[in-house]
Symmetry: C2
Subunit: 395 residues, 2 copies
């Protein structure tokens, strides 16, 4: 059960570039890659319903193990038949391991070789996460794509710190792999049916590489994880505050080392610009809170660049927020209306802007994928970024 390469199929490659279009098979559907996963931290993509995600043709969402473990608790989700059933979502779900969250709680955690003891940010209660426990919880949630429990070093961090983190990540990756291979150890399997997804399609455990922005460490971590032969690889520890160029250097370096036939997942990205750049470097998967978080702040991704709808010039602007969009916002409401809803503190503003931003990124991914298949990636990337960067506001 160590690995299966059959879960991923490359359907097209860019002539003269690394970008590729693929198909990722999961118990909840075949995902067309490159794919962007909106983040549903607490079992809900903020302000959106599963009905909305379906309508937008979202294929994959991310759930946060740490948050769901604390609230509502694994018992509730298990009783509901898994996270898919709990949130009425029949697409694929990727869960993180909780590592990122517990490591970012510097005041509330104690790290050992065994795992991380931490206090709940909700009620201060004491909990323990380990590689085995992280896999057990992800199994109980019914995740389609599970992530290894890793140590994500902060940015900036010393080379020594980054080295220790990647070594810990490697040792824990091996333990995750073992726990994943023998789920009887702790996890209660989901009942048959929708909650467990299609029979015959395996759940996938991804390894996560670390190494901060130190090329030698990034190389070492990637080689270690590749040696363990995971069905997919996440590039972790980036998009945590490092310079933009450093991130893309690390991505280019990592993708050169990762096996061609496995999906590549850049965690925590991103912006429309970063998506084009990273896909050019052969990244297949992304997740990011940006579309919903920016949406709640009134910031829209649009075909004419970034717009902040809270700004005064939109008070009387009767044009659609994005003239090139047919989402529930742009097909019916003006910039002036959205501006008003934000100014008046109406919750529908948050929803409409989030909905549009998710729609924008999902459609962008489809467009990019098609451009790879058509062999027009380079041209379209150039065209998109010129318009996007030149016409929007600086927000």
């Amino acid at each position: 059960m160590k690995t299966t390469t059959r879960c991923f199929e490359i359907v097209a490659k860019c002539p003269g570039a690394k970008a590729r279009a693929g198909l990722l098979k999961t118990p909840h559907g075949n995902i067309e890659t490159p794919v962007f996963a909106p983040v549903g931290t607490q079992g809900s993509v903020k302000t959106l319903l599963s009905q909305d995600l379906e309508k937008l043709r979202v294929q994959l969402i991310l759930g946060n193990t740490y948050h769901l473990y604390l609230r509502p608790g694994v018992d509730v989700i298990q009783k509901a038949g898994g996270l898919h059933r709990f949130m009425s979502w029949n697409g694929a779900i990727l869960t993180d391991s909780g590592g990122y969250q517990v490591f970012s709680m510097e005041q509330l955690r104690r790290i050992s070789e065994e795992g991380v003891e931490f206090r709940s940010h909700i009620d201060g209660s004491l909990h323990f996460l380990s590689p085995e426990k992280a896999i057990e919880i992800q199994f109980a949630l019914g995740s389609d794509i599970l992530m290894c429990f890793d140590e994500c070093a902060p940015y900036p961090c010393t080379e020594e710190h980054a080295r220790k983190a990647l070594e810990q990540t490697y040792r824990w990756a091996k333990r995750c792999q073992t726990a994943f291979a023998s789920p009887s150890a702790g996890a209660v399997p989901l009942p048959e049916g929708e909650g467990a997804g299609r029979p015959g399609e395996a759940k996938l455990l991804y390894g996560i590489t670390q190494g901060s922005i130190y090329s030698a460490l990034r190389t070492e971590s990637t080689r270690q994880l590749v040696e363990l032969d995971f069905p997919g690889y996440a590039i972790g520890g980036l998009s945590v505050g490092e310079p933009h160029d450093a991130m893309h250097d690390m991505v280019a370096l990592s993708t050169d080392l990762l096996p061609e036939d496995k999906p590549r997942y850049l965690m925590g990205v991103g912006t429309p610009d970063d998506l084009w750049e990273a896909i050019e470097q052969s990244i297949d998967q992304f997740d990011c809170v940006l579309p919903t978080r920016n949406g709640r702040n009134g910031q829209l991704f649009t075909s004419v660049g970034k717009l902040n709808l809270k700004n005064a010039p939109y008070r009387e602007d009767l044009s659609p927020p994005d003239p090139d969009c047919d989402c529930d916002l742009c097909s019916r409401y003006s910039r002036a209306y959205l501006h008003h809803l934000f100014r008046a503190g109406e919750l529908s503003a948050l929803r409409l802007a989030s909905l549009h931003n998710v729609a924008f990124l999902i459609k962008l991914m489809r467009k990019i994928r098609q451009s790879i298949i058509d062999g027009t990636f380079a041209v379209q990337k150039k065209r998109f970024l010129e318009t996007y960067r030149n016409q929007g506001e600086s927000i």
Copy 2:
């Protein structure tokens, strides 16, 4: 232009009771009465989109003149082609006159025979509302059903205060009628097309009766307004804190005095119980913030009574919030999921609960109307209230 009785048609009456089913003609559609209007104070029924209202078959919503006048401002809404176009809503809109709001701002207003000077609750700027101005604004918003500028006395209030308020209301009602009949005085008419609604159907100006809970005053006010011959009548100054029985006594008294062939509108009501009671007394129209406000607080109207989804017992309750409902909440999500969303502070909780409550009241009104047509009103009222009152929680 003083009146038209053709706007309202009674299609069925309850044998042995006052309840009736009717059809109210407006520039934005024929409304089946009794009708419940969700409140869209600031050009948005809180947490819901116009798409949602259409799907729920909402026929009429209420917009607040005071709020819309201050923000976004009449200029913006006029530029958009009226409130219908601004908020992309093609159903009917009733606007209040702003009287209720400016009279409730005791610290911020100065009353004269001419009108009310008040300070904006948003930025403290000084404004003036009068009968003529209230009509002018409502014309500019493109309202289908306009309300007279009235003085709504608070509860409790002395008989003397109530008398002064109803006399003021009467004098202002006459001025509203005059302003309504000659819109050229101040208002800029809406451009042709969707914003102005169907040609040939008249906008309606309703009179509002006052009199607090003093029977003699209520009688006097109702007679005064009836004498002015409005196409519809609102019963104002109720649902402002008075005892439940006093409200229903005033409703019964008022409806006995109002002309049979005009629509009767009880402002600020209500709860499912009150809707049944008031419809039994021949009320045709309602508006209330309750479905959305209660929804945002986690309180649901359901076929098995009121439920507070935030309460602990729902943590593991996998049944639908209302087993007898097919709305976007009940058709897909469990009580446990909604409970989780509320506990986790997810905005979708507010939306789902609001959506359900509006759906519940809209469907209830259809059911009541049908029972009037079928002649089963009394039986169905008894059956509904027995279930509703006995099985719910006390919230």
